[in-house]
């Protein structure tokens, strides 16, 4: 019951060969630390210590999920994501879309903006092969730029309280998976994967089910061409995506203002995936067999 054992990948072999001129205890200590860290990372399911870029911002949604987890006692491995998925989930990942040069809302000839739609690409290759996808959502921030004031709404409601007036505040957002890009015409072949009616008076995050796309991208040899977002007004006419959806940076956010930068990082679109690596099931099976 005492801890007298050596760390895996121990240092006894190293102690006799001191080619660097360093002291033996120092070298062996370094090796022990390296082996220790390797074991820990392996336990965390990582091959080596991640080196994320310094500019990364953690989405508020992920922080809220984490806080909700820590506030309640963790009785099992499942992450409590009420309303998202009924199946077991012990890993939640957030992926920001990949930004490209000139990806700003003002540039009408931008290659990412195609008429009234906008294309987003996400690299979701970090999801391990052994993980089972239980759910995936595209989260886009819907901002009411027009500032429809309560007074405006009241006046409008009083003068025209018909159903059509109310409907004029409803816009439809369509989310497509891009299946193929046609090089010559710069057009795409796509399939509709989710659609939602959004009240333009609200400022809130909108969630779209993109599980079919993620499942497809995870299959071997299946290309990931990204996602296309389209907004239609109440009459079904396409309108500019950038009027309300925070899809790309605004021109003002190009300049090095830390406030704008932070705001953009907090409002930029991201995909959230919910997966299960099956560890809980495996340990439950082990426990049963031991019993």
């Amino acid at each position: 019951c005492t801890y007298g054992g050596q760390v895996q990948g121990g240092t006894d072999q190293d102690s006799s060969t001191d080619t660097q001129g360093q002291s033996t205890p120092h070298r062996s200590r370094e090796a022990v630390i390296r082996a220790f860290e390797k074991n820990l990372l392996n336990m965390f399911g990582l091959k080596e210590k991640p080196k994320p870029s310094r500019k990364i911002h953690v989405p508020q949604y992920m922080l809220d999920l984490y806080n909700a987890q820590t506030d309640s006692p963790i009785s099992n491995l499942d992450i409590d994501v009420k309303g998202k998925t009924s199946r077991s989930t012990n890993i939640v990942r957030s992926f920001h879309h990949q930004e490209h040069e000139g990806d700003y809302t003002s540039s009408q000839d931008d290659s990412r903006q195609h008429g009234h739609t906008h294309r987003l690409t996400f690299n979701v290759s970090a999801i391990a092969d052994n993980e089972v996808l239980t759910d995936a959502e595209l989260r886009i921030f819907w901002k009411n730029h027009h500032s429809v004031s309560k007074r405006d709404l009241t006046d409008r409601d009083q003068t025209n309280s018909t159903k059509s007036s109310e409907q004029s505040y409803k816009h439809r957002v369509n989310v497509y998976q891009i299946l193929k890009r046609l090089v010559k015409s710069n057009d795409v072949i796509k399939r509709l994967i989710d659609t939602k009616v959004v009240d333009i008076r609200n400022t809130s995050w909108q969630s779209f089910d993109v599980r079919p796309a993620i499942k497809d991208w995870r299959r071997p040899h299946r290309p990931n061409h990204g996602i296309e977002v389209e907004v239609l007004d109440h009459r079904g006419r396409p309108i500019s995506v950038h009027r309300n959806l925070r899809i790309a940076r605004s021109v003002s956010e190009q300049v090095d203002s830390s406030e704008d930068e932070t705001r953009w990082f907090q409002e930029r679109p991201h995909i959230v995936t919910y997966t299960d690596d099956g560890r809980q099931k495996r340990s439950a099976i082990r426990r049963t067999s031991r019993q």
């Binding site: 994320p52 984490y66 499942d78 012990n90 690299n123």
Partner: protein, 114 residues
């Protein structure tokens, strides 16, 4: 009076605090939260006879009995974690994605003799 020293009582098996600080090992560059966590550890004696609160298994009781009769035949039962819980970790990876993950068996909730 006869000069015999009092037998030094070793503490029984129980849980002790052990705080793991990710900052100390330089892992705060990729672990967003928590900054560290209370992992605890188990240490102490599993004396004969084993009392109820030491969470001993039948096997541990038998092993302790044998040890008390003849220490050469079997060692004492070990003081080990008997109940563990999970922690949530929020971290970043090389591709700058943010990951929230629950890891099982990270915190000692109870110790016992096994």
């Amino acid at each position: 009076r006869s000069g015999k020293r009092k037998r030094k009582l070793k503490p029984n098996c129980r849980r002790h605090p052990l705080y793991v600080d990710f900052t100390d090992v330089g892992w705060n560059s990729w672990i967003v939260a928590p900054a560290g966590y209370q992992a605890y550890y188990c240490q102490g004696e599993c004396p004969f006879p084993l009392v109820d609160h030491l969470n001993a298994t039948n096997h541990a009781i038998v092993q302790t009995l044998v040890n008390s009769a003849s220490p050469q035949l079997a060692p004492k039962a070990c003081c080990v974690p008997t109940d563990l819980s999970a922690i949530s970790m929020l971290y970043l990876d090389d591709s700058d994605s943010v990951i929230l993950r629950n890891y099982q068996d990270m915190v000692v909730e109870g110790c016992g003799c096994r």
